[in-house]
């Protein structure tokens, strides 16, 4: 098992804030919009540097999505910022008609995704957003794993033409990817090569997958771990090549098991090379109040549960 360490921990939303500033420096067409959550989205540095290119929308997310769509007419590259719940479910029709169906180059940037939002509870902890967004034709869906990857992804989507949903989170998590990485949309990242089981993880679950891989190695199990940061378009080639070696799959995500990464992987497997699969995901329920660590444990989204899923799926191999 390849060794991953970290010297620092930061929230992925701060990676977004840093990436937005950098994207703004590289391209003067980049503009930002926020629905009364500047601090939560870490947009202060962009606003300080480019005050004329920032729009405070107020608590009016539907209007924000429409204004973002309009800003593209005239060549702007708008980044919208609010919580994941208010970036998707609240404004689904606005995104569907004014952005996706209208082919607008809007970057929908969503913080506080999933259970790790914590104490605010289920009203704010959306676990359905990946599913909602990946169903929209033409929408790219990205869920990076740490500060560095989120920063790199933010810079990358500014250079990409088309609507993007970028999902990140609130808690402070280990930084274990390279600071100078080049983010390639749609290209899975091989975290660890192995032969016994494929673990496909996204977002905060990638670090948990690495911890799980180390525990599995101690049991003599050689896990292949792949970071699926781009859920759409999905890197089917990387998935199929991995499963050809290992013959079984665990998917891990901070999302409802219905409609998330696991289902996307299952579709690739079912239509190409069927293989046993176990899901590490929320089992079709809402979240609740608690600390991020408590919630991830209670809902089974940690290294321990990935290990258990790996042991189960290995047994199911023919």
């Amino acid at each position: 098992m390849k060794k991953y360490t970290y010297t620092d921990k930061k929230d992925t939303r701060s990676g977004f804030g840093a990436g937005l500033l950098e994207a703004g420096k590289r391209n003067d067409q980049v503009v930002a919009l926020c629905a009364d959550l500047i601090g939560s989205l870490k947009m202060q540095d962009f606003i300080k540097e480019f005050p004329e290119r920032f729009f405070q929308i107020g608590i009016a997310e539907a209007n924000m999505m429409g204004i973002a769509a309009g800003l593209t007419i005239g060549g702007k590259v708008p980044f919208t910022g609010t919580f994941a719940n208010f970036s998707t479910g609240r404004v689904y029709d606005q995104i569907r008609q004014s952005i996706a169906y209208s082919d607008k180059n809007v970057k929908i940037c969503a913080s506080h995704a999933g259970l790790t939002l914590g104490e605010d509870g289920a009203t704010h902890q959306i676990l359905e957003d990946i599913g909602l967004m990946k169903m929209l034709p033409g929408m790219t869906v990205i869920n990076p794993c740490d500060y560095n990857q989120t920063k790199a992804a933010t810079i990358a989507i500014a250079e990409y033409e088309g609507p993007v949903y970028l999902r990140f989170g609130r808690p402070v998590v280990p930084i274990f990817t390279d600071a100078d990485q080049k983010f390639e949309i749609g290209k899975a990242w091989m975290v660890n090569e192995g032969k016994d089981v494929s673990i496909f993880a996204t977002g905060h679950l990638v670090w948990e997958a690495i911890q799980a891989g180390e525990q599995l190695a101690e049991m003599g199990i050689d896990a292949e771990i792949i970071n699926i940061h781009t859920i759409k378009p999905l890197d089917a080639k990387a998935i199929l090549e991995s499963v050809a070696k290992t013959g079984c799959v665990v998917t891990a995500e901070e999302h409802n098991r219905l409609g998330g990464l696991g289902d996307s992987v299952a579709q690739v497997l079912a239509t190409n090379t069927p293989a046993p699969q176990e899901y590490v995901a929320v089992n079709d329920s809402f979240g609740e109040s608690g600390t991020p660590e408590q919630l991830m444990e209670k809902y089974g989204l940690d290294a321990k549960h990935i290990v258990e899923a790996a042991l189960r799926v290995i047994k199911r191999k023919g």
């Binding site: 004329e52 539907a62 924000m64 429409g66 800003l71 004014s98």
Partner: protein, 281 residues
């Protein structure tokens, strides 16, 4: 561009013929609001807006129009056709399989003249504000126009946008509301009353104008007045009173022709009231 009222009326008559023929041709669509808004759209595209039928999505240096109540697509398509955005023969494909003239306007089929999809109501004012802000960032002093139905004002997003624009001094924006008092299920007064619209928009900080949207002289002069009020720190809205179905006597004034196509006899009766001025497509 012309401000000759007779010429504009002549275009409007042909557009009304197109509308009833298009809706009859596919036996679906929305003739009522389309007929009511014909004079406005003709006045806008032929006497008011600076625009180029050699369509470019960004529209730098051009005035832009966003149709928010996308169901009145027949009048929009006919006016775009007559303005030279595409050949008028294409109007015959309205709502038919593989057409660029979808039931509700879309950019997805790359029809020149359409800059946003609309149909799901309440979204166009926000989009227009975004386009107006882009113009300001680009140092582009041209204008952005919109059209909304009065029933559409029941959508909450309209009022989010209505609050935003004056607060942010979006003064290169002229919105128009088609006040015909009708919606699918009946008169707006009975469905969900809009009460004093002028007071509402004024309270939100808009510069409010009113006009008779079925009097071409008044349409052209009011649009000119609205243009003269831009750049003064306020967003502008025109409350445009129209008759649903205007120009075809049996369609006028009733919600029943909101979204119903005429049969063969009704088509003939309608066309008998509308002079063929520029040739049918």
């Amino acid at each position: 561009m012309t401000t000759n009222i007779d010429e504009l009326k002549s275009v409007a008559s042909q557009v009304r013929r197109d509308i009833v023929r298009m809706v009859h041709g596919c036996q679906s669509g929305h003739p009522g609001g389309s007929l009511g808004c014909t004079d406005f759209l003709v006045g806008l595209y032929f006497a008011t807006m600076k625009h180029d039928p050699k369509f470019n999505m960004d529209g730098i240096g051009e005035d832009l129009f966003f149709l928010s109540n996308g169901h009145i697509s027949p009048v929009f398509y006919s006016v775009l056709g007559h303005a030279g955005y595409f050949g008028k023969a294409e109007l015959a494909t309205f709502r038919k399989l593989n057409t660029r003239l979808q039931g509700h306007p879309t950019t997805h089929e790359h029809l020149p003249g359409v800059r946003i999809a609309s149909g799901s109501l309440g979204q166009g004012l926000s989009v227009a504000i975004g386009a107006a802000l882009a113009k300001k960032l680009n140092g582009d002093d041209s204008l952005v126009f919109t059209l909304h139905g009065d029933g559409e004002l029941q959508e909450g997003q309209i009022w989010e946008a209505a609050m935003f624009a004056p607060h942010n001094k979006v003064d290169n924006l002229i919105a128009t509301v088609d006040v015909n008092g009708q919606q699918i299920d009946g008169p707006t007064d009975k469905i969900l009353g809009l009460l004093d619209l002028a007071a509402k928009w004024t309270a939100f900080g808009w510069d409010v104008l009113t006009m008779n949207g079925n009097d071409m002289t008044e349409v052209v002069s009011t649009l000119a007045e609205a243009k003269s009020r831009t750049g003064k720190g306020k967003s502008i809205v025109i409350l445009m009173h129209t008759g649903m179905g205007y120009g075809v006597d049996f369609m006028m004034g009733s919600h029943k022709w909101h979204g119903v196509a005429p049969n063969d006899e009704q088509l003939a009766a309608a066309l008998a009231q509308l002079e063929e001025t520029l040739g049918d497509y």
